[in-house]
């Protein structure tokens, strides 16, 4: 029987970590992710886990210690936000290229500057090319479920890549919601043992990791890393299926909400999906054929699946909670539109940058986007491809 509880997003993630009982957690506090290591260190202090908690002196050292630990053969987890993730940057790439399946909870927060502690996605979006799998979560339940699945995804021998589980700072991390937890033994059985093929502590066959790798082999190693990311799509779906049997909760690469006969639709990530779903319901009540896609897996990017999913629309808006400063819209837009070139070439697609630095996103804001889409669907004309929502100009 599932356990019903009321937890904040951070607490739910910390509980998942307790149930996973990793060998090492190395972390450094930063708002709004601080509670994750805080709750977890209490589990350590109470002997609820066998984990070594390494209270490092910076996020750079957090990821470095995670790399050392995972390379040594230990299952390893951490959490961070914004500038903390930025300080890890160098090591994110090294973790991925060393094929170390570390699981990192990214509690999304605006990246400085100016300094701001509230939610947007500029932190994890900046890390989208670092070679980490990225899962985005709408609410506490998804964050909890995804952290558990992330262990299995990253450690799968066809993948061997680190995984970021991203959820919105404060909105998700600090909001207390009803949640269904799995029993400890079920999580333990689901994640199983970490059994890497090679690791530093395998004394019978010592291994050298992190070599200098020049022209003769570097490219092959990067190609193999890219293959891991390609393979991960199937593994993400397989793990989700197995998790679904255990929990009764279904996960895919993205969630389609009232998309079957939709004419206008938006693509969103994380908590905004919750707000947007109520707008879709209201519009449906009024006879507007509105739909929504909540992207769960951003890396690997579900190119064909997403391209096909929007091919029946008359107009689409991609919502980016970060600005890539490319002067051509946000990062999600760029990837979605690229997929549409192959699968939905004739569907007008526009971009909105919204909610930066925690700017509140109301149902009215989302309704305005659908109104704009309705106009495009009717006229077939796009007056502005790149847009900012809810900003004073």
């Amino acid at each position: 029987m599932a356990i019903r509880d009321k937890l904040s997003g951070n607490e739910a993630v910390a509980v998942a970590m307790r149930q996973i009982d990793p060998d090492v957690v190395a972390a450094f506090p930063i708002t709004p992710s601080t509670e994750v290591p805080q709750y977890f260190s209490q589990f350590v202090a109470n002997g609820a886990v066998h984990t070594e908690f390494v209270a490092v002196e910076s996020e750079h050292s957090a990821m470095s210690a995670c790399i050392g630990s995972e390379a040594a053969g230990g299952r390893t987890m951490t959490a961070t936000s914004a500038n903390g993730l930025a300080l890890m940057w160098e090591m994110l790439y090294i973790a991925a290229s060393s094929r170390l399946p570390i699981v990192l909870s990214v509690v999304n927060r605006a990246l400085s500057g100016p300094i701001n502690i509230h939610n947007d996605h500029s932190d994890s979006m900046g890390a989208r090319d670092s070679g980490w799998i990225q899962l985005y979560c709408e609410d506490n339940q998804e964050a909890y479920d995804s952290v558990i699945q992330a262990i299995r995804i990253g450690e799968h021998p066809d993948v061997n890549l680190p995984v970021m589980v991203c959820y919105d700072g404060f909105i998700t991390s600090h909001s207390v919601e009803n949640i269904e937890l799995l029993e400890d033994d079920k999580v333990k059985n689901f994640v199983g043992e970490y059994t890497p093929a090679e690791y530093l502590l395998k004394r019978e066959s010592p291994v050298a990791m992190g070599p200098l790798d020049l022209q003769p082999h570097y490219f092959e190693h990067k190609r193999s890393q890219a293959q891991g990311m390609m393979n991960s799509k199937k593994v993400i779906l397989d793990v989700a299926k197995e998790f679904g049997k255990l929990s009764g909760r279904d996960y895919g690469l993205f969630e389609e909400y009232r998309m079957d006969d939709a004419e206008i639709g938006i693509i969103v990530l994380n908590s905004t999906a919750g707000t947007a779903k109520t707008v879709v319901d209201d519009l449906r009540d009024k006879g507007v054929k509105a739909g929504l896609i909540k992207l769960r897996v951003f890396r690997p990017f579900p190119f064909a699946e997403l391209g096909k999913a929007v091919s029946g629309l008359k107009a689409l808006a991609v919502m980016d909670k970060s600005d890539g400063f490319a002067a051509t819209g946000g990062p999600v837009f760029a990837d979605v539109r690229s997929a549409m070139y192959d699968f939905a070439k004739d569907v007008p697609c526009i971009n909105y940058i919204y909610g930066l630095g925690g700017r509140d996103v109301r149902a009215d804001d989302i309704a305005k986007v659908y109104a704009d889409l309705g106009e495009i669907a009717k006229t077939g004309k796009v007056s502005s491809t790149f847009n900012y929502l809810g900003v004073r100009e």
Binding site: D23, E52, V56, A65, G68, E70, A71, M91, H217
Partner: protein
């Protein structure tokens, strides 16, 4: 058993020949001496900061390390090895690993005195059972002899060149061993591979087998950066120690102990003269004043050390 160089060198090498370090480089001599102090039955996890040692000993698909080895980046050998040690502790609890594994991190002075200082300080403060070894060659040699905070005053490097106005590096060398001693660790020592290597071997053995964190700072001259003839490596080290530029001492649980006292303390100039990086001092009119300046600082630090050691 008392230390015997001949016996000690009969142990199987843990850093094999065939690595690509330069002839006359101090670093592999330092590493091999330290690794001889690891018991044959013990496994080691060795980490290295980016630097000469790392790029020359682990070029894919080869490794010169007989033990497990990890390099991840430049500034984080302390943190990386601390993570491996934490995994070991956790996996011991669950019975996933057996036997004794020792944890060592090697970094040059760039990776230790400068960019890796925070990571080193953190790892030592947290009390991981590991040894951090700085092989100190007094500049960023891997990138082509740029000054570090370990570079001695007036040394000519590619970013502190001796010019017509500025005579090489302007600042004195940072005293990292004292910085680490101030961490109040179970064991801190300064050493050099000298004469029969006993000083370094003994300190390595203590560092490796004292539970908790230990720091070794070991002089490892670089023929390219210091500009000496490669066969002169051992002579240069002896001059550094006998001039008290590089005193040999240890700090065990806060107790300072001088492990070598030169019979005749030689002038700093005798140590500097064979090195091309100080050549300009011996050619210039003001060189004598500069040498006096250096001698004064070396004497001041030496006297301070003698006091700490109760000598």
């Amino acid at each position: 058993m008392a230390y015997n160089l001949k016996e000690s060198t009969k142990k199987p090498e843990r850093l094999t020949g065939g690595h690509r370090m330069c002839a006359g480089c101090g670093a592999p001599v330092v590493i091999r001496t330290i690794l001889r102090a690891v018991k044959e039955e013990d496994h080691a996890v060795i980490g290295a900061a980016t630097g000469c040692l790392e790029v020359s000993t682990c070029l894919y698909p080869f490794t010169a390390w007989k033990d497990s080895f990890i390099h991840s980046a430049f500034e984080n050998a302390g943190a990386t090895v601390s993570g491996a040690e934490a995994a070991y502790t956790a996996m011991k609890k669950t019975g996933k690993v057996e036997g004794d594994t020792k944890f060592l991190a090697f970094g040059g002075d760039g990776g230790t005195y400068d960019i890796g200082l925070q990571s080193l300080s953190g790892a030592m403060e947290r009390g991981h059972d590991m040894v951090y070894v700085c092989y100190d060659n007094e500049a960023y040699m891997n990138t082509g002899i740029q000054r570090s905070s370990s570079t001695p005053k007036f040394a000519d490097t590619t970013t502190s060149p001796a010019g017509s106005v500025i005579p090489g590096k302007v600042q004195f060398k940072k005293d990292l061993t004292m910085v680490m001693a101030a961490h109040n660790l179970p064991y801190v020592a300064q050493s050099a591979p000298m004469t029969n290597f006993k000083d370094l071997y003994d300190k390595a053995e203590k560092a490796i087998y004292t539970p908790g964190p230990a720091f070794l700072n070991v002089m490892a001259p670089c023929p390219r950066g210091w500009r000496y003839d490669t066969p002169e490596l051992m002579d240069i080290i002896k001059l550094a120690v006998d001039s008290c530029v590089w005193p040999l001492y240890e700090v065990e649980e806060g107790e300072y102990k001088l492990t070598y006292r030169p019979k005749n303390k030689i002038p700093v100039a005798d140590y500097m003269k064979p090195q091309g990086r100080f050549r300009h001092l011996f050619k210039s009119d003001v060189g004598e004043e500069m040498l006096k300046d250096l001698q004064k600082e070396v004497d001041r630090r030496w006297e301070n050390l003698l006091k700490l050691c109760g000598e």
